[in-house]
Amino acid sequence: MPLPDPDQLPLPPGRELAHPLASATVVIYATLALLALTVPRGLANWLGDMEPNAVQQVMLGGAEGIARFADATGIDRPYARARATFLQATGKRED
């Protein structure tokens, strides 16, 4: 099996989608939005670790709002339970 020609980059495998850009956009933002809703503390903690400034405060307020919404609706609980189960099963602790 020789090395591939480095000057030729063939199109990756897979098929051309009908609306590739729209599909990619939906996949990227919907995935990030779902993660922000179901694991909301990640975003809030990340913003909380930043140097305080006006923009950070506004964004932190938004992230805390998402966290409160997730808490009220219970959509963050499966993650919390699964995380606790994983830590217990592996004998690890949250840093």
Binding site: L3, P4, Q8, P13, L17, L21, S23, V27, W46, R83
Partner: protein, 474 residues
């Protein structure tokens, strides 16, 4: 800014739409991507963006001059000057202290103590990959394989494009610049391919490589004398899997991200631990470095021309320098030279095989070849991973004379990671392509659900923090 972080997710969430919004105006898009790449690099060190910009400007001007000059001595001298400047920059930051220490040790052993000053600067991240890209461009222009580009922004973009900037894959100038002269085509996006590479890369790095490293490999390599023989053997295998999952994860994510932005990158790994010879290994491991060393070092040294002895010498020089490229230490040089020796022994074996009377069934020959190759690669990884040649020696000594019996400290989590890591070498590539095809055919809801579910599961099992990728230091 590491790929598996919230910082990068937000960075990419902004870069992705802005790239495609500016796609109709190619120059504006490239300017934007250069700015984004410099911002990405500045996260490590803002001052070192000057090196990135300086190197790009220098090589842009050098290539223009090489393109205009007629063939001859002046042109060749200019090329050598350019190569020396690029390598000089790399050597200054990466090898200066190593050479100073080596010279001082040598003089001390001769009874002539020498007091030279070390430099106290941090190694600029990505300097090796930056140099590879710059040299690839300048040498290809010298060889008249490609014309020098008149667009400075194209060179700034080629050298700094953030997915490949830090740890590759090494993209050839000819292949990349051909993509920069026109706007990207959205129809080139392969969503299934990109999503599976990115999520698979996140899993390999955040889960497999991290747990193998923190829960087993680091401990075994720190104090090998405290571990049993079976732990030391498993430690060797675990490091082989760790470094594969770590490095291939980076390039998988880089290739996936580049594809989402409309650019093609070359493949860099192809199940390297399936290799049946050392040569086969280097055609599957860090493939873009292998072809770079072949085209810009091995062939210019004479390659296969000049007889068998010259060929073996060229292999040893190429692999020795390839080893040294990984870092300024004797361990990396020895690692590279051992691989060179492996390639030479293999070439000799192929040459003398007809003289051997023994004929093995093909399946047995293939099994033996795999066992030999895999264990050769794993044993040399010990030298690569150990902090020094002395530490590697300690590891091998403990492996031979361990007094800790056959107990093992491998936890169920580490054992699971070992099995998953081994599976990455066994699963046929065809299965992955079928999975990509099924993803592309699926409904949009499924297209969202799959990456979400995979990243969600990774978040559940992720360790507290993600250490940098191993190849960042190179």
């Amino acid at each position: 800014m590491l790929f598996p972080t919230i910082d990068f997710a937000i960075f990419f969430a902004l870069v992705f739409p802005l790239t495609w919004l500016t796609n109709e105006h190619n120059t504006a898009k490239k300017c934007f991507l250069v700015a984004a790449s410099y911002y990405f690099y500045a996260h490590w060190s803002a001052s070192y963006t000057l090196i990135l910009a300086g190197s790009s400007l220098f090589n842009f001007a050098l290539a223009l001059a090489l393109d205009r000059l007629p063939d001859g001595g002046a042109r060749r001298a200019l090329l050598w000057l350019g190569v020396a400047c690029n390598l000089g920059l790399l050597c200054y930051f990466k090898y200066y202290n190593f050479f100073i220490a080596s010279a001082m040790n040598l003089m001390l052993s001769l009874g002539l103590p020498l007091d030279l000053r070390f430099i106290e600067v941090a190694l600029p991240i990505a300097i090796s990959f930056l140099t590879f890209h710059a040299l690839s461009y300048v040498i290809d222009v010298y060889r008249r394989k490609i014309p020098a580009t008149r667009s400075l922004i194209d060179i700034l973009f080629y050298i700094s494009f953030f997915p490949h900037l830090i740890a590759g894959p090494i993209v050839r100038a000819k292949a990349f610049l051909a993509q920069t002269v026109k706007r990207s085509e959205a129809r080139d996006i392969r969503l299934g391919f990109a999503v599976l590479l990115i999520t698979g890369g996140l899993f390999k790095k955040v889960i497999v490589a991290n747990y193998l490293s923190t829960d087993f490999v680091d401990n075994v390599f720190r104090e090998p004398a405290d571990y049993s023989r079976i732990d030391l053997v498993l430690g060797m295998y675990a490091y082989a899997i760790q470094i594969y999952c770590d490095f291939s994860a980076y390039t998988d994510i880089a290739i996936g991200i580049a594809n989402l932005l409309g650019y093609r990158f070359p493949e860099n790994f192809n199940q390297p631990y399936r290799a049946l010879s050392v040569q086969d290994f280097w055609r599957r491991w860090h493939m873009t470095l292998s072809s770079w060393l072949r085209d810009y070092l091995y062939i210019p040294l004479g390659g296969n021309r000049g007889g068998e002895l010259a060929r073996y010498r060229n292999i040893m020089i190429t692999m020795g320098l390839g080893g040294l490229w990984h870092g300024a230490s004797a361990s990396f040089s020895v690692w590279g030279l051992l691989h060179g020796l492996g390639l030479v022994v293999q070439a000799l074996f192929v040459r003398w095989r007809p003289a051997f009377p023994l004929r093995l069934p093909p399946w047995l020959a293939a099994t033996l070849a795999w066992l030999l190759t895999f264990h050769f690669v794993c044993l040399t990884w010990v030298i690569f991973r150990a902090s020094s040649l002395g530490a590697a020696q300690d590891y091998f000594a403990a492996l031979l004379w361990s007094r800790h019996g056959w107990s093992t400290s491998v936890t169920p989590l580490v054992a699971t990671m070992l099995v998953i890591g081994a599976a990455t070498q066994i699963v046929p590539n065809r299965w992955l392509e079928e999975l990509e095809g099924a993803y592309d055919r699926a409904a949009l809801a499924f297209k969202v659900a799959l990456p979400f579910a995979l990243i969600y599961l990774i978040a559940i099992a992720a360790p507290g923090g993600v250490p940098p990728f191993i190849y960042f230091q190179f």
